[in-house]
């Protein structure tokens, strides 16, 4: 049985990385697929050098192979929402929400309650960015979470920029504003925890 060398595998990995397969969890599987297929060809009698087999393989299969790379976010979205829902509905999640609400209960400054979510999203965003980029490996679901941070950020900004702002929506009611702000902060914290857990799980699997 012929097997590809470590250098050959590294070559395939680099090639896919340069073809925009940036996420380790997706690339690992593609590398194994390409390598397994190439080894099968070699064992069936293709005696050419690695480079020539690889070149022909990629000409034939590259578009089909890279199709998955463009679809990763669909599975990631499902994974994120499933994990997030589980956390939000858990005892710890519900407790955290009421704890945030309880803290807001002591704050009666309208502008503070109104601006709290934007401050929290900036802080969490920066913290998430640095913790995610700490090592060079990138993982699909971990990075997909930044998309959700962006959505929340834009929602907050749309409320702030247009006339359809917090005050209008909640008709100047501080209690309602506290609930909305607490809910946004709660979701942000849950997203951060979800992303962090994904990162740990990926690092453990793909070490």
């Amino acid at each position: 049985m012929q097997r590809l060398s470590r250098e050959n595998i590294q070559f395939i990995d680099n090639y896919l990385k340069n073809s925009d397969v940036l996420f380790t969890d997706i690339r690992v599987e593609m590398v194994d697929h390409v390598a397994s297929d190439m080894e099968a060809l070699m064992n069936e009698g293709d005696s050419r050098e690695f480079y020539y087999i690889f070149k022909d393989y990629m000409i034939k299969n590259k578009s089909g192979l890279l199709k998955d790379n463009k679809q990763y976010y669909k599975a990631s979205d499902k994974k994120i929402l499933r994990s997030l829902t589980k956390k939000v509905c858990s005892f710890k999640g519900v407790t955290l929400f009421f704890l945030i609400l309880f803290i807001f209960n002591f704050i009666n400054e309208f502008s503070f309650v109104k601006n709290a979510p934007i401050v929290v999203i900036i802080l969490i965003g920066i913290l998430y960015f640095f913790s995610v980029n700490k090592n060079k490996e990138r993982y699909s679901s971990v990075e997909r979470i930044t998309f959700y941070f962006m959505i929340i950020y834009y929602i907050i900004n749309v409320f702030k920029i247009t006339n359809f702002n917090y005050e209008t929506v909640i008709i100047m009611n501080l209690t309602r504003l506290k609930i909305v702000s607490a809910l946004i902060i709660f979701v942000l914290i849950m997203l951060f925890i979800t992303g962090f857990e994904f990162k740990k799980e990926y690092e453990l699997k793909y070490k």
Binding site: R3, L4, S5, R6, N8, I9, I26, V28, E29, M30, V31, D32, H33, A35, S36, D37, E39, N61, S63, G64, L65, K67, D68, Q71, Y72, K74, A75, S76, D77, K78, K79, R82, K205, Y206
Partner: protein, 112 residues
Amino acid sequence: MGNSNLYKGSLTTIILKLLEEHHKMYGYEITQKVKELTKGELKITEGALYPSLHKLEAEGLLDVEVTKVDNRLRKYYKLTEQGTKETVNKLSELQEYIKTMQALVNPKFVVK
């Protein structure tokens, strides 16, 4: 293969069934097994297989195990408890579908 569109809707069921029988499998192994079982009639492309595997994993039906094999990492898939239950449902759905199609295309031959 005759018409790959006819098989598309059954891909997840095929994957679940294979994993039910083989405990754990990796992507390439699944494509080869299907090719072997169907005598080359059905070839699952990587562009269809991996998104389906990832979707099943995201839905909690499959669990992933990563192992180092032959100088590279290999991602094995296996059924979760929920996945095992879902396999039974999907298989009975598929059998019902086959029966219905049989009744439609060949009414004289009724599968009981």
